[in-house]
Symmetry: T
Subunit: 146 residues, 12 copies
């Protein structure tokens, strides 16, 4: 059976490319998902992308992923900074996860770049734009193949 | 077309006037919305009020407001203190917003009066009871007319 | 009329017994609820158990409990550490509540054992496993009978 | 007898409109006082405005206001951040006061937006420009009439 | 041989019921010990209660308990907040212990509710009055029987 | 020549006995100064009392005292918490000084009881009401006579 | 019956005058107690002085004082900084107490001058040497006579 | 027209050379001003020196300097550590300023060497005694001539 | 001309694969460099790898890279946590850089995962082993080609 | 006269070798003291060892040591972290002391390794097991002989 | 013999004028050294300038300066913030030193402006560009001549 | 083969005995090394001593020691407080190491006594002067022989 991955876009990421393009660029979430889809087809793997502004829905999705996904790529958006519930969900299901941030959060203000979710992830990719998602998927896939 | 405003009441504000009246008075949320309605009719403007205990629903409402509202008046309740997701929503849609608190949050315990949402609002009105909502709407309307 | 109690299991507790058994044991939430049910039958009291990963749903349930429950036993899970909205809900309805944690959170890392909900509860039972729920219900019941 | 109010402009506010207009606009303190005067005439109330760069003079004025003023509107300027003496004066005379800031101090650097005077005021209006003073006077007047 | 338990009342608990009844009620330590005695008789177990204002005596008692007690129920009073020596004694003897506090220490001032002894206990029961001791003994007894 | 002392009452102490009597009692500053006067006459010493809400005037008075006073008794009021200028003045003139507070500042909120002036005083008397001034003068006088 | 007072000298104060005279002077504890005795005889009051290096003994003495003493003068020595048990003892017996320190603890390193006992005392006298004990006794006596 | 400079000596600097000579040397403020005068004559520039213990007077002087001075040399004394009002005055008038301290404040206790005024100055000269004023004036003059 | 990249391995990375294999795996630095070489040949780009335990040598190499490299991939090792000099070097030369760490530094102790160099890099790749270097090079190359 | 030393074993060290051997080894306190005795005989010096769980007894012993001991070797156990009274005793008697810990407290959790007693000791030996005591005695003896 | 001075330029200062001219201007280190040379010739003194990115080389140079230099002018660059080794070198050799920074470090981010080297220097000159070096040399020379 | 040890003296220790003898005594590094040599000859072991002010050289030496040394004794000097690179080197080579400080760093200012290298050492010897090195070597040797 081919490997399957869940990609999670957290709160406000549905605004991507439509609001504040000077900060986040003009690429929309639809664009990103299309590129991931393309890559998935080329690799012969499954990628399911979801977006939600509801913390509870993201947790439910992570729980469900435990039964089908070989890996999770997650951009927790603002939940990065306080959602211990999301963190516990990731830790609880035990599916290998990689945290992705589009822009370089380390270059921004002190408080915001603390991630409560990163410690329970396999790794973190920061500041490489939409390619970050792709690199994360590659890393998960290569690890599976190793 | 007449100006339109969204009024958002955050978590637990549905209890207003029914619980702990010695702290928050006996005015209910229905009473407050009725007075805002009255004022809206007198001014010839639209005011839509919503209340929810779900962070995600408030974020969704703010996103939708981007297509119809000229301003937002928001009492984030306890989300004031930790919802960076709400903050990002307000910052993302770019609709001018004013934060309102019924009681003087600055006179209460140190930790609680830090607002993570105020920095992305136009301003903040604190401690003036239900009139705070009205003053906020006036300020938004006058600014539009200026 | 016989006393009635609401038992609330917060985020990720639905994973109990299925994930990380070496930390939390192999008892599932269904097992725990069955034992509470048994106890309730023996005592002639009502116990309603709910679990949700959605902060808003927990708040709604607490609001509704104000009209029927004589007490609340709550394991807020990760919300323990940041949900001021949950805390305000508990404080707002005024139903006596006891906070329960399965493992000894005081024995774990410094930051996590800060509880923002405990101050508005009657008490807290920590580290006694599923018996903690039962002891909490007993305490509420004995207090009612006093 | 008609209601009377004291409006206090703290240190450096005499520079308003003459220095750093890109931050504070080109409206001068004289312009603001004229508009408050106009509003006072229309309402049939008294408004006395003072400005001083001397902490002691502001305290003296607050003490004297205890014998004639029905309310105080105060923009403490930089004293907001450290003048416990000003705070004790406001607390001591017991005249209802509302704190006003022209720009959104919450959107500026962390340290500065802590107000030591707000806890002893009735409320606070922030970020609404010169209209903030007017809204504060309205709130005091309506409260008197209630 | 029937199970035996040591109950330890820390500093100032000899004042119980005789001083500050508005905070701690009118039940005296003698009353509490009588009820524990009663319960012990009914269960056919041994319970030995001691009280001391001397940290060293409490430590000695814990050391001795290692040779005869099946469990310890301890209310360390103010030692809760700083006696690392007491903590080491509990950790050192390895007798299962449960910490009890009469009132809800978590609802009081920030600093005080840090317990340095809880981390080496099996669990902690807080805010349930004298019943807390009883619940702790029950928990220890049931664990033994499991 | 008979010993001479300066007694300094800081900001807002002119309100004493007239405002918030439930906190500070009904004794006015005039009453206190009369009692100090009485004591001075009985001892055959000089006591000069001043009160000001202006930090600069207090500093000037301390500077002048260097040429005539054998000791200073100072209640810095709110300046206690931030006036490093007052502290430098006391340290600079080298006249022995004792700091006095009417109520027990240690029993109030954490931040306020830090005194920046106490380190440069001979000692501090706190919480003993108007008698604190008298005890401070006695201590200075006895030290002179020693 | 003549008023009676307990004077408590905390840990290491028995070294006074014999060790580190350059810091604490050459006056011994015996000298101080002799002077307090003298004053007591002149005033027709009783003064009992004790010294101990054992926290438990100080607590016991405070408990016993509840049945005979009209006031307590206490120099808690190093216990000032951490003995919450001593604090609870003082708060528990409700006998008016005044805390005394020989040297100006505020002029020493930051951490040490935090007193956990002062908040439950009537007041505090600091830095006036052995006279501090005498002034504290005077203050207690005058208050009794008022 | 020849360049003109304002030299501001903050609180307690009038004591210079007369008090604590072992810390600040025996040079008086009059001596320093005479040397600056001398230098000014030699250079053909104007230097006006003022000293005040009143924060408000220093702010007024800075405001007035906006209409005649080409630069400001300021030793804010103890105001360095808390006078945000002074800082706002310097920032408001926009005249280039250099902060001077006679002794090396960095070599003293941690808290004191934080300057709230330095960030709005052009630069800072520390620890070089009275020469620091002269070097500051030279730097302002050379910059004008560049 | 083909793009050229500098790969910098910081202090102790020469131990890779030879020490603590349970933490860092058995891959040596020579192995990693060989794989990067391979990739470089396949892509037709230049990759120069260096390793040093000397902060100054790394700074010198970064300075020299300004004249020939199109990008830098840097694993600063322990310098990540304190070398502001390295940070200034990276910021100063302006060559796009990506920071790489082999293991998940975020899952380790709190203090260590603060990176002073990341803020001046384009991004950061963490926890993906030696593949992190390759992903970083890919990202730089793709960016050049965009 | 031959040199004499006091060896102090603080609270819970009487459990050594009998409890938690996996952490502290199986060597008992009796074993250690025997080895120290042996060494003392060989060197022709006196070594007196005591152990107590009572802070007061340790302080008394230190006071008495002032009249006979040439040095103190102390393992304060848990008192290390909070006993300012012990610290004052050590500082007060002025006998050279060395603090010893059996295991490497620096390698354990942050808070615990803060020692309030070490600053008043001559030195500290950490992590060298029972040999630490011997090395400390040697150091004291060699210093005497120098 | 004519006075001799060592001027030390820390890490990255060799980039001066060649990188980021919008922050540091276009003046190069060669330009600065030329001007210092010119001044030295005019004054008849010796000035030796060195630059290094290696902390160890700077320390070695300071050690050597102990045998020939009458003063040191040092711009430690980024070492300012963490090189306790540099600080110990300056403190160890005892040659009078003045710290220089080209731009106003106080106006930049909080953390960076803490200098660990300033406390062991005679003084500090900040924000006055290349003139800062010259003013520092003048100050050292005048002090020698005094 | 006889055991061999590396002794490392960190930055500025070459100044020992030549600078600030009132703090560090008059013993030079040459003296210390001679004594260690002597001891080594007597024991029939090898001891190699090095000193460097260059962090990189110390790291290189530690790496090389992995192939020949049975233990390391290191006085990291000022690197103690910030050199995570040194720490990683020590942790990486896995040779047992003991940290030595000549004077009692615990008795000095708060910040400095934090050691980042101690957690990866076997133990630490502090405040025993040059004997500390010898005691450390003994401890290593005895451990080998056990």
């Amino acid at each position: 059976m081919s490997p399957s991955y869940l990609v999670i876009h957290g709160p406000n990421l549905n605004l991507l490319g439509r609001r504040e393009p000077e900060v986040y660029g003009s690429t929309t979430l639809v664009d990103i998902d299309a590129r991931l889809e393309e890559w998935a087809d080329a690799q012969g793997v499954e990628v399911l992308s979801i977006q939600s502004n509801h913390e509870g829905e993201l947790i439910d999705a992570i729980h469900e992923a435990a039964s089908w996904a070989d890996g999770i790529v997650i951009n927790p958006g603002a939940f990065t900074h306080y959602s211990y519930a999301l963190r516990d969900a990731l830790a609880g299901v035990g599916v290998p996860a990689i945290e992705v941030h589009l822009s370089n959060v380390h270059a921004r203000e002190a408080f915001r770049h603390v991630s409560v979710t990163a410690p329970v992830c396999r790794g973190q990719i920061v500041g490489l734009g939409w390619r970050g998602y792709l690199l994360a998927l590659q890393a998960l896939l290569e690890e599976d193949g190793a």
